[in-house]
Symmetry: D2
């Protein structure tokens, strides 16, 4: 019955993670979209901003400041706003509508440590008490905490694609913690929808490059999560690259087994860890994943292969940065927070070719 | 309950229309895939041929000749085989298992006239009696006949993308029947999965060209359907081109209004014709569609604009060649033939970006 | 000897036609680049704006208003500025340095008729006396006039790709002048380097669409040139589309032979017209061109095929919009204006794949 | 004068390295192409196999076995044949026409050690005496030997893109020799022109993957050259990936400075080593290259950046796999072997966008 569906809002619906949320939620059987915001496009219909939604009924886009959070009476809000504005918006929202749960897709609540946040972002956090309450939203690692959370910090796409393959290995103390190298490659949608010269088709197609070499902000999140998993400080090398394609992240990760742990052992650990997970699939030993085979789905594929040098292994993970790396992960979090089966609305099979 | 689901087979599951059928049917709530064939890959798992299916349980691929049609006891078979072999396979299948319905995705049963078939394909049809029974499977035009059919000839992707915009205009006698020009552009998946030099990535990317200029076989199908719609012989100009992308067909169609019919009138005719259709969306007058906004969905977008020359209009249609242009259309046919709601399993929203 | 080389300036060097001019002129044996302007990037090195020039010595970018035209003592200037600013800049330049010749790559001097200009652009021309002197720079049609010109209006890329195949047919009165349809498709570099949302990689890749349907400004230029060629008013249908690739325009042109002129006759006319042209290649009858085979070169390929309907032909032309459609054509003009062999610096073979 | 030009043959002209040789040599002022072979296309014109050559006069393709090497009287032959056939063809050629020099683009003569060859390729070398004479053709490292060589083994594209950044650092003993990780990404033209399913446009576009993980044959060549440079055995980790684009290789290389050598020191070593090289450009410290900025040129761009972990650096190199990674490098070798200026015919500036 319509009245029983959860009322959902998407803040920042004019960006790619916003449109991806709308795509998934339009087909989710137990929720309804009742609020869509997009400040610069306020007053417009979603079909103007994203013509793929032309056939569907959706709320008109409004500005955030025009929303009465209490009257909106939302069960859950996805916040897909840029860094910085996010903290104030969520603080205000939760103050006015404490019954509304939040999944935040920005980086604003991912770092638990205020000092770490201040160091990487150059200013004090604007909502430190919320920062403490926020649960890190990587379901496969923090499922129980997420079920009980009212504010979940959805992980970054690069970090999801590094944590899913590495966290079980670090928890098992199966790999050396120094010298881990993550060579990551992402499709362009990971850079969002801002009109920047370097993101033009003609600048991107038929070419490839690394960026933010040695200094990417996602490293703070990696440090936090890998150190938690390992029980000691872990600092990895991480180099992001941009691929001339829309969707997909692939991480090629170079590790050394700890005290005689073989590549086959690492594979066995991952296979066991993810045996019952609906959205992580570990390939047979020696096989490696391709981003195209998870496109549009909430699936992560992981492969492990033997490197030439004794004791070294290459672990490769692939996911769709807009789905498992962002909006699909966010819906997975929502399902847990609202008590729905975890896979609802996320069953779509990858679109290949 | 599992036992209540219809049993479905896909013949030719190792091609792109085959994998697209599997993608859609895996999520269809009232059918189950119980047979997958692929002669050259017989004995292999579907995950070997299409790694995106690795997380799912699917029947092992078998060779067609090893199938006992009667024992298989299928409710419906999708036939995604190459031209020529199709006729014999379906003839044999229907002879042995008359209760099994068939949706054929090849061109073999699209032409109703044996003489026309012989002229375009250079040989007599191998199953002329089936050719007579076959219903042309463009749902929006032949819905009622399809409901009662046991053999449906699924339309070609190019022809679907030309018929959906033109047939209502021809039926209404709103446009001149001579001088119609269809300039069509298709993504590469329309060419299938054969390993040919001209289909290599390096031959296709960063370039564009027309092919089969003046002589494409799809013209026979266009002639038949347009002449039926107009009630007189119609011969159009049709030029197919190949786009450096995977999915999507866009037809740019140049027409002249009949006896004072304006471009706005043409738009009104289409708007009315498709008012209640779930899979055809007519844009506001003057707006034109983009293939990316229907990618992965079963939707067709149609736009009408005024040309410079008085009385002339430009009609543009876009669809995903693998979905509405092939496998989605086939599932839509299946839903009618098996008495399911027409949109079941086809609700997926387009994947953009 | 260095001192003997012609001194060349490029105004607007930070756009794609600007960088393409620099690419070509860096290897032109009898000119040297002594001035590069780019207002928003003034003070920067070209390698910052276009890293491919990092290994080469080039003048630092300056603002146009800082240039002393007389002191600069340039032999020729390429003007690759946006519409509107162009007229004033060239008027000022020619007033101060009448010895400096100009090839203008904007649309500002292409229309000879002030009334036509005012109608299409919505304001009076700012330099009507220069407008009268300007020679239309399509070398294959206006070679002699270009040799003597001091101001040449370089043709648009779409119009070049329509005129080269059509003008000889219109001059020969071989085709009917009404009902000509030009379905044109362009790579993204034709849209320039502006940071607009609709030009982002994620908005463009894996998709295709028409734009400015029924109303593109290039039509004014087509009207002028086709009417000149035919000796009577000619109004064509012209629909531009955007391809998910960088370089290349392909025009698919639908024509009817005049009074019994066959497609083969049309082919013969083109073959003869271009027999000695270094940069136009007419393919054997029935063969059609691909954009990828002219990429990076100054070549135009033209093909003619028979349509199904009697008397109708399909003429297809392909060129690189940044070379023959812009900067290569401009260098070809420069060679004539400065008395160099026409092909100097333009011999580069197409880059395929 | 025509008669003074060197006579050049290209064996295997129907592949991409073959066509790239023809592209470059057509514009080389002191050579003429007098022999083109392509066994499967023998008797055809080059324009049939590669339509971009339609405007140019080129020899008809012939089969290798039909060539009389002595009568052909070639100054130099480029051999772009598949592995295995190469050894016999060159052995025969040199026996019959000892005056003809050879640049071989296959892997057949790159390994100097017969034992290493046998281990990696699974059989004894068919021309061991030639294997001993062959000079490894990376000009920046072996320039003097190449000048005197009559048989040069052109390096592989992956290995060129790893050696140019690493060899100077190993020679200087500036980096630790264990733990070097080379994460390499290549455009599709590196895979050649064979019609294989996994190389189809629809299989490659919009996706990314690693292949031959832990076991690529190019490793033998890397081992040989790095061990030579370091004066001790060096075994690197090397993982190749395929990019959805045509041209370009980018190597992201993770190294540790030796005994206090900083990333800035590594940069200084490379800057000095390549100070006078025409085809290697070292970017300012901290800047990293993009493949698009070397496309179509013979240039290699190298960048060095500081990694997070103390003592670690990231070195990134980019080149066009068909030019500096294959045919451009081969022409550079030819220039040295025939006594021409090294840069002749290779001056073309990169084609971007």
């Amino acid at each position: 019955m319509m009245a029983d569906k959860a009322k959902i809002g998407v803040l920042g619906a004019s960006g790619y993670t916003g449109s991806e949320l709308v795509r998934l939620l339009l087909r989710h059987p137990t929720v309804e979209l009742t609020l869509l915001t997009a400040d610069r496009r306020a007053g417009q219909e979603m079909r103007t901003v994203f013509p793929q939604f032309a056939p569907y009924q959706l709320p008109t886009l409004v500005a955030i400041e025009s929303v009465d959070w209490n009257a909106a009476n939302l069960d859950l809000v996805f916040c897909a706003l840029p860094h910085a504005t996010t903290q104030k918006v969520i603080k205000d929202l939760i103050a006015k509508a404490p019954q509304t749960k939040v999944v935040d897709l920005s980086a604003d609540f991912r770092l638990a440590d205020p000092a770490s946040y201040a160091r990487w972002y150059g200013h004090e956090h604007h909502a430190p008490e919320l920062q403490r309450q926020a649960v890190y939203g990587l379901v496969e690692i923090y499922r129980d905490a997420i079920r009980k959370a009212s504010l979940v910090a959805n992980p970054g796409c690069y970090t999801s694609c590094a944590q899913l393959p590495l966290t079980p290995l670090l928890k098992a103390k199966a790999i050396e913690t120094d010298g881990i190298i993550i060579d990551a490659k992402s499709g362009m949608t990971g850079a969002g929808r801002s009109a920047k010269e370097e993101m033009l088709f003609s600048e991107v197609s038929e070419g490839f490059h690394a960026y933010a070499v040695g200094q990417h902000r996602h490293m703070a999140e990696l440090d936090q999560e890998f150190s938690r998993a390992a029980g000691q400080e872990v600092i990895v090398s991480f180099t992001p690259h941009l691929l001339p394609m829309n969707r997909g992240i692939l991480s090629t990760i170079y590790v050394r087994g700890n005290r005689g742990t073989s590549p086959e052992d690492l594979h066995a650990i991952l296979l066991k860890f993810y045996a019952n997970e609906p959205f992580v699939h570990v390939l047979p030993f020696g096989q490696v994943p391709q981003t195209r085979h998870v496109r549009g789905s909430n699936m992560t594929f992981i492969g492990v292969a033997k490197d030439r040098a004794p004791g070294r292994a290459i672990v490769i993970a692939a996911l769709d940065n807009l789905v498992k790396g962002a909006s699909g992960q966010a819906v997975q979090n929502m399902n847990l927070m609202l008590g729905y089966p975890e896979t609802t609305g996320l069953e779509q099979v990858a679109l290949f070719p």
